[in-house]
Amino acid sequence: MLTKNSNELTTFIKAKIAEITNLNIEDIDEDTEFGSLGLDSVRGLFILQELEELLGEEINPLIFWNYPTIRSFTEYIIKKE
């Protein structure tokens, strides 16, 4: 299970986005919106699913939209507790 560590979460999300969008991981900017990275609502759900499994908790899909960059999303997940 993933711990709620900012670096680990960021790396995991970047790796998943790279896997889904074929972007190079080093080209993925933490402040670029998910939509601009090529994630649509369905692809976003697959990343959320893996995050739910890794963190062992439910994540409402709207969070993905309300915190639409890797940095803001990661900060939200870590602060949530």
Binding site: V42, L45, F46, Q49, E52, E58, L62, I63
Partner: protein, 400 residues
């Protein structure tokens, strides 16, 4: 500040400050993903009654993304599509009229008070109320499920499995979908379809007075009968309508009663007011909080122009407390009979409101008449479904 964060724990526990802020500051709020959240009474009523605003967005979304989802998850969504194929809440226009007409042919306002009283007695005998108990598990979830399954004619041996699977399946009515919930909805649809098909076979051989027998008989007599998936789906909608919202109503009603001994005394002195009390719970803290529509045409609401094909999240729960519409709407008051949109408005108005209210009234009356005092122990825990507000835990202590 993000005005629309309904999934936050504080908003799940009490969404009304969020709704009030939206009504006062941004009553047609555009969310970051382009949806519109509509919170004022007149706007909500307008959308619910506008025939150019369609329901069933979840089903459309599923159809649009089915191949991508199926490939990625390696599952078939056919069971879910069957379950929703004639779900009136997800239908529009002539298709909706056809199914609704069929359902009205078998479903009418009836006095089920005897059945409800029998079930309450049975549930009460199964538990020991000597100490504290979770009212939601023991009564609020069971009474509606036992009632609607008895009316439908489903084998009472299937109640435990029905309880578990309906809970998972009816997440389909939530506004935001997740993959994990979608998968569990498919699994539950498979099990529920099997239970219903088994019941169909039994009723076909031995028809009785049950609703399923009436559905099968009516469909046999139709010139343009429903397909088998549609008949299954009609039964799903009776289960949905009968279970989740009624559980929510009963849980909310008991929470308010348990928190306020003054109403316990008031209702003991004026038992004719139980109906008013439940009606006010329906208005003040309704189980059906939100509904979703898509506008076929450009729409003007307040000072906003909403482009066509937008997702509109309308909050009946917020509309009911709109003080610009109704004086004292934000106060709980048993005797005022204030107007509300809790059961919808227009073509999709709830068909079973009377059954939910009669169960809640009977159960609240039963507890308040039998026990000298009812107390809520600790804080209640709410489920995270944003559309249907239900409790998962409400610990009570009762004094004879």
């Amino acid at each position: 500040m993000i005005p629309w964060e309904p999934y936050k724990l504080e908003n799940i526990v009490d969404p009304y400050p969020m709704y009030q802020w939206l009504r006062e500051n941004d009553p047609v709020h555009k969310t970051i993903n382009g949806d519109y959240v509509i919170t004022k009474y007149q706007d909500v009523k307008q959308i619910l009654n506008d025939k150019r605003c369609d329901t069933g967005i979840r089903l459309d979304w599923l159809r649009e993304n089915e191949s991508q989802l199926s490939d990625q998850l390696n599952i078939s969504f056919e069971p879910l599509k069957i379950a929703l194929s004639a779900f009136p809440l997800f239908m529009n226009g002539d298709d909706h009229e056809r199914i609704k007409k069929f359902m009205h042919g078998v479903w009418e306002v009836r006095d089920y008070s005897q059945l409800i009283d029998i079930i309450i007695d049975r549930l009460a005998k199964q538990i020991t109320l000597s100490d504290t108990f979770n009212f939601i598990e023991t009564f609020a979830n069971k009474l509606p499920l036992h009632t609607i399954s008895a009316i439908l004619g489903i084998d009472q041996n299937d109640l435990n499995i029905l309880m578990a699977e309906t809970k998972k399946f009816f997440n389909i009515m939530d506004i935001y979908v997740s993959i994990s919930k979608l998968k569990s909805e498919v699994d539950s649809a498979i099990i529920l379809i099997a239970i219903l098909e088994n019941t169909f076979e039994l009723k076909f051989i031995n028809p009785d007075e049950s609703l399923i027998s009436a559905i099968l008989k009516k469909n046999d007599e139709e010139n343009n009968p429903l397909s088998k998936p549609e008949v299954l789906s009609v039964c799903f909608s009776f289960l949905a309508g009968g279970k989740e919202t009624s559980s929510g109503l009963i849980g909310n009603a008991m929470y308010y009663l348990g928190k306020h001994t003054v109403w316990q005394s008031y209702l003991k002195e004026q038992p004719e007011k139980y109906v008013n009390f439940i009606n006010e719970i329906v208005r003040f803290d309704p189980p059906a909080q939100l509904s979703v529509r898509k506008n076929r045409n450009e729409l003007h609401l307040g000072n906003r122009t909403i482009p066509k094909n937008s997702t509109l999240i309308v909050s009946m729960a917020s509309a009911n407390r709109d003080e610009q519409e109704t004086l004292h709407a934000n106060e709980f008051t048993i005797d005022s009979n204030l107007k509300n949109l809790s059961f919808g408005s227009g073509a999709h108005y709830c068909m079973g409101d009377w059954l939910g209210k009669s169960q809640a009234t009977a159960l609240i009356k039963y507890f308040n008449e039998i026990y000298h005092e009812i107390s809520v122990i600790g804080l209640p825990i709410y489920n995270s479904n944003l559309t249907i507000r239900t409790l998962s835990k409400l610990v009570l202590q009762v004094k004879p």
